[in-house]
Amino acid sequence: MQFFGASAESNPSPLAPAGTGTGLLGNNTFMIYFFNRNGECLLYREWHRPLKTLESHQDHKLMFGLLFSLKSFTTKLDPISAEKGSLGVPLLPGQGCSFHCFCTNTYKLSFMESPSGIKIILVTHPKCGDLRESLRYIYNIYVDYVMKNPLYAPGTAIKCELFNTKLDQYIRTIV
């Protein structure tokens, strides 16, 4: 399947992709969200968010709803693939077409969904390039430091300090 095929071994131990950061350390990335299959927000971290319009619970619901709708829309409008699910029906991961980012004049939102339903949303500065490899790397960090941690209960908010540290370190290097 597309998800696993692209890079043979993308584990965090060798070099991270998207090498050197710019002078503004960490200011290229604004926020990150992690959602699970049921819409629960597992992690929300922000590095640079001067404007907050909604209180966090509503913010998470809005984000999840936005992605859910966008995924359904993009599947409906797809001119190439043969079968289309009906709007509103939850799609299996990998089915239909999956959108991966949208760009505005002030930010760029990149999205990745894993086969297990974990959704990673990264909001960055618009000049960042294609962040799909970065999202895959972040997913690997998640698998390593959260899934292999016996003291984390799946489905709850992520509070593992190793994961937070590694994530921060990697986010700083995103161009």
Binding site: D144, Y145, K148, N149, P150, L151, K159, C160, E161, L162, F163, T165
Partner: protein, 194 residues
């Protein structure tokens, strides 16, 4: 499949030659298995101390078997009788076979005569584990402490072995120290041997 392609079938498992076996196992596979071991024990205990004890007992079984295997494979069936001998056996041979590298350091305790410490910057079993704050000083390295205790006790050096986090300046994560406290009889025997 196990057994496919083997030309000679042994009727008795004791007659089979003891092979070198596979030298390496996938780290991810081990991490998931260890994670499940910890989670399984978590559901069966009421407090942290009990959980650490269960992990130690699991390690004890591993240690007892590892001692037999390594004495046969690496040491040509010789057994260690001196304290320093068994400690360097644990520090180098056991660590090398289990974790792929020798332990970072072996030190003698300054306060007490019967204490020794094996230190490691980060134990392999703890590599992916971050303890939440409400679990206090719980250390999954109790499993490794159990392994060391299994090796020492079955070699004739009864000891109490525990794993501790030691915060170090300059390092983000605290170092892990395996503290070995030998029983009285070991020290008396060692003194007698000169």
């Amino acid at each position: 499949m196990i057994g496919v392609g083997k030309t000679k079938q042994y009727s008795n498992v004791l007659e089979k030659p003891l092979s070198r076996g596979r030298q390496e196992v996938s780290l991810s596979a081990f991490a998931f298995l260890f994670s499940e071991l910890v989670q399984y024990n978590q559901t069966h205990v009421d407090n942290i101390g009990e959980l650490e004890r269960r992990l130690e007992d699991a390690g004890y079984s591993v240690g007892a078997r590892v001692l037999e295997l390594l004495c046969h494979r690496e040491r040509g069936n010789r057994r260690e009788t001196r304290l320093l001998g068994i400690l360097s056996f644990v520090h180098s041979t056991v660590w090398k076979v289990l974790f792929g590298k020798v332990a970072d350091s072996l030190e003698k305790g300054t306060e007490h005569e019967d204490e020794y410490m094996i230190s490691e910057k980060e134990l392999l079993v703890n590599r992916f584990i971050s303890t939440p704050k409400d679990m206090g000083a719980f250390n999954c390295g109790a499993f490794v402490a159990g392994i060391v205790r299994g090796v020492l006790e079955n070699a004739g050096f009864p000891a109490v072995v525990t794993a501790h986090f030691v915060p170090m300046e300059g390092l983000q994560r605290p170092r892990t120290t395996i503290l070995i406290k030998f029983a009285e009889e070991v020290l008396r025997r060692e003194a007698r041997l000169g």
